[in-house]
Symmetry: C2
Subunit: 392 residues, 2 copies
């Protein structure tokens, strides 16, 4: 086991002992740091209800032993635990504090996670750097699943990570589409990363754990309680550059994720469908609000998230720095280059720029090694960077 | 034949001799009045190209004889001619002058019509007072035709006139939906009102001429030239409170009508569809622009046009005056009352107001005779006003 300092162990202990999102605990961590927050939590100085809840999970003993047990358990399961003190913690999650402070007292608290359990080869922050959430109805139609698959394939094929919730229907279609493209997909679960829920998605989750990431705020073994899906949704909204809802009924969790994304300053997007379909009632209502952007496929999504993705990205290191120094138009053209060879006309059309502009950008990109020429077409380099040094 | 003064005859003569929309002629009419504009047109003072075009239609003789012949022909066909000097001229058409002045010289001129040929029992201005255009693709899908029919039925059932272009596909579905509801529908044609184009719509046009209106800027016998559809579209956009596009391919005349409606300050609306359908590519692109409102059915359309319809209406006379004096919320509740009995809960839900608000409004409306109570439900009065004295 690696050496773990007390602050990390305090985060992990709190993550095990308290249901995520707590305002009282979140504010205590911000004001006093994790170690003092944990001390106040246990002594009942913070909140007697919280103290009671903790007591139900920790009848007696050292809270740090809870953390140590969690770390040992993670290791046994091939998982790991990430806290805000770790390099791979996604900086975007901190934005949850701002919107949580603005919420009414009677609403559910939505403070950031205190720690995350992970399974999969990617450093979390890198995997989420250029990511889009694709979510929607469980009871999706064939139309919705088709659209979600195509959307996720296109995004993953262009180097974007597809984040979803691992549920039936749209979520599964999104994960599968990204996997088909050989891309990265992240499933944010409402139960432990060792649980397959729904059970029939077990093999999908195994594939995701091999090439992408399974993540959860709840420790291994945690059940997918109903309220956990709603609290989980804030992580999907906050961790990504934008959220696309493909199908959603009138009162749907996916619409709540979309609203959260909008509150967080992320880009809220929705795919329309037949007005005769109950599974598009929620998306159409969302599209009638002013902020939500109508998208019909991955090119529209890239148009929305393309440049902003770079702005929101955490401080870039290594190969990322080069990309961020591209001017916006060149970056836009790079977004339109995929793993498959394409001619300059096709790239110009996809990027939405003129052919001369695309030609100029492609020569810069080729010279800098972002793009290769083969058989008169352009593509991203075949050699994929290793997970640890992921370039895009 | 009724006594027709020279100014009316001048309008009619110009309507017969010049293709609609001319900027030069439109400005001359505004500056010098129709009689002097006609004199300048014939003498070549205005524009030599226009003079040449007129000469091709009037080799010699008195231009007023053209007007008299047109009036006699209209009478033989059971049609009539309406000019800006007549009481039933729709005041909204004048707005075309403003947007035409803003257009580039290389664009097609879009000045208001100089006269209109009509077949049907309704006074034109009254028929258009509360009207919505429902337009779209000729090569519509079953989905699109279904949606257009439902939309037009719902609008007509609530006393709104449905305006369209008489074409195959969405246009025909819209006319038919309005007719099924026993409502008023207006077909704005790009050929003479005696021509059935497309031919298979002949019986539809006869039904419209019996209970609604067929109207055209072109004299009887005129052919539906290709460019006439585009110039005709400005009348559909200008004459109505708002335009709904149901299905449209990427470069579609219906989208041009929508853009025109937006330029004119009318309400541009579009119905989404499957993103996999080529017939919804144009509507989705339109919905991605900021002004176009997404609507999924007639309740959304009424929400958009309901109150503004009243504002745009020409100076109200008779029973209309009463309605305009209703406060906005009461008018909103009235919009939700249909020909079929409905309970107050249903009306409140449809109007988007609380039940107590709906109850208050319904008691005002019942007392004023706008609404009747039968069997515990509310409905519009059964007795329909005669065409000449149409109340709503």
């Amino acid at each position: 086991m690696t050496s773990v300092d007390d602050a990390r162990r305090a985060y992990i202990a709190m993550g095990c002992l308290v249901e995520p999102g707590s305002r009282v605990l979140g504010e205590a961590v911000i004001r006093h740091g994790p170690i003092e927050a944990l001390r106040r939590l246990l002594s009942g100085t913070l909140d007697s209800a919280l103290q009671g809840a903790v007591a139900a999970r920790l009848p007696a003993g050292d809270p740090f032993s809870v953390a140590d047990a969690a770390l040992a358990r993670a290791e046994r399961l091939g998982a790991r635990i990430v806290t805000p003190l770790d390099e791979e913690w996604p900086a975007r999650l901190a934005d949850l504090t701002r919107i949580s402070r603005g919420r009414e007292r009677h609403e559910r608290d939505t403070y950031p996670p205190l720690c995350l359990w992970l399974r999969g080869p990617w450093p979390l922050a890198e995997a989420l750097d250029r990511s889009v959430a694709v979510v929607g109805a469980r009871a999706a139609t064939g139309y919705g699943e088709h659209v979600a698959t195509e959307l996720a394939y296109g995004l993953a094929d262009r180097g974007w990570t597809v984040v979803s919730g691992g549920a039936y229907g749209i979520d599964s279609a999104a994960h599968r589409g990204a996997l088909s493209a050989g891309g990265v997909t992240v499933a944010v679960l409402a139960c432990g990363v060792d649980r397959a829920y729904p059970a029939s998605n077990a093999s999908l989750f195994e594939r995701i754990a091999e090439t992408g990431l399974l993540i959860s705020e709840w420790p291994p073994g945690a059940e997918p309680h109903r309220h956990r899906f709603l609290i989980r949704n804030r992580v999907i909204a906050a961790a990504t550059v934008g959220t696309v809802v493909v199908e959603a009924a009138a009162r749907s969790g996916a619409i709540q994720t979309l609203r959260r994304a909008s509150e967080l300053g992320r880009i809220p997007m929705a795919v329309p469908g037949p007005v005769t379909s109950a599974m598009s009632v929620g998306t159409h209502e969302a599209l009638r609000s002013e902020e939500v952007r109508l998208v019909t496929g991955w090119p529209h999504v890239l148009e929305e998230v393309g440049r902003i993705g770079t702005d929101l990205a955490p401080v870039p290191r290594g190969p990322e720095r080069l990309r961020d120094r591209l001017d916006p138009v060149t970056a836009q053209v790079l977004d339109a280059v995929g793993r498959r060879l394409a001619g300059p006309e096709q790239i110009a059309a996809s990027a939405g720029v003129s052919l001369p502009t695309a030609m100029r950008a492609l020569s810069v990109l080729t010279a800098a090694g972002f793009v290769v020429i083969r058989d008169g077409g352009y593509a991203l380099p075949r050699q994929r960077p290793s997970p640890a040094g992921r370039g895009r």
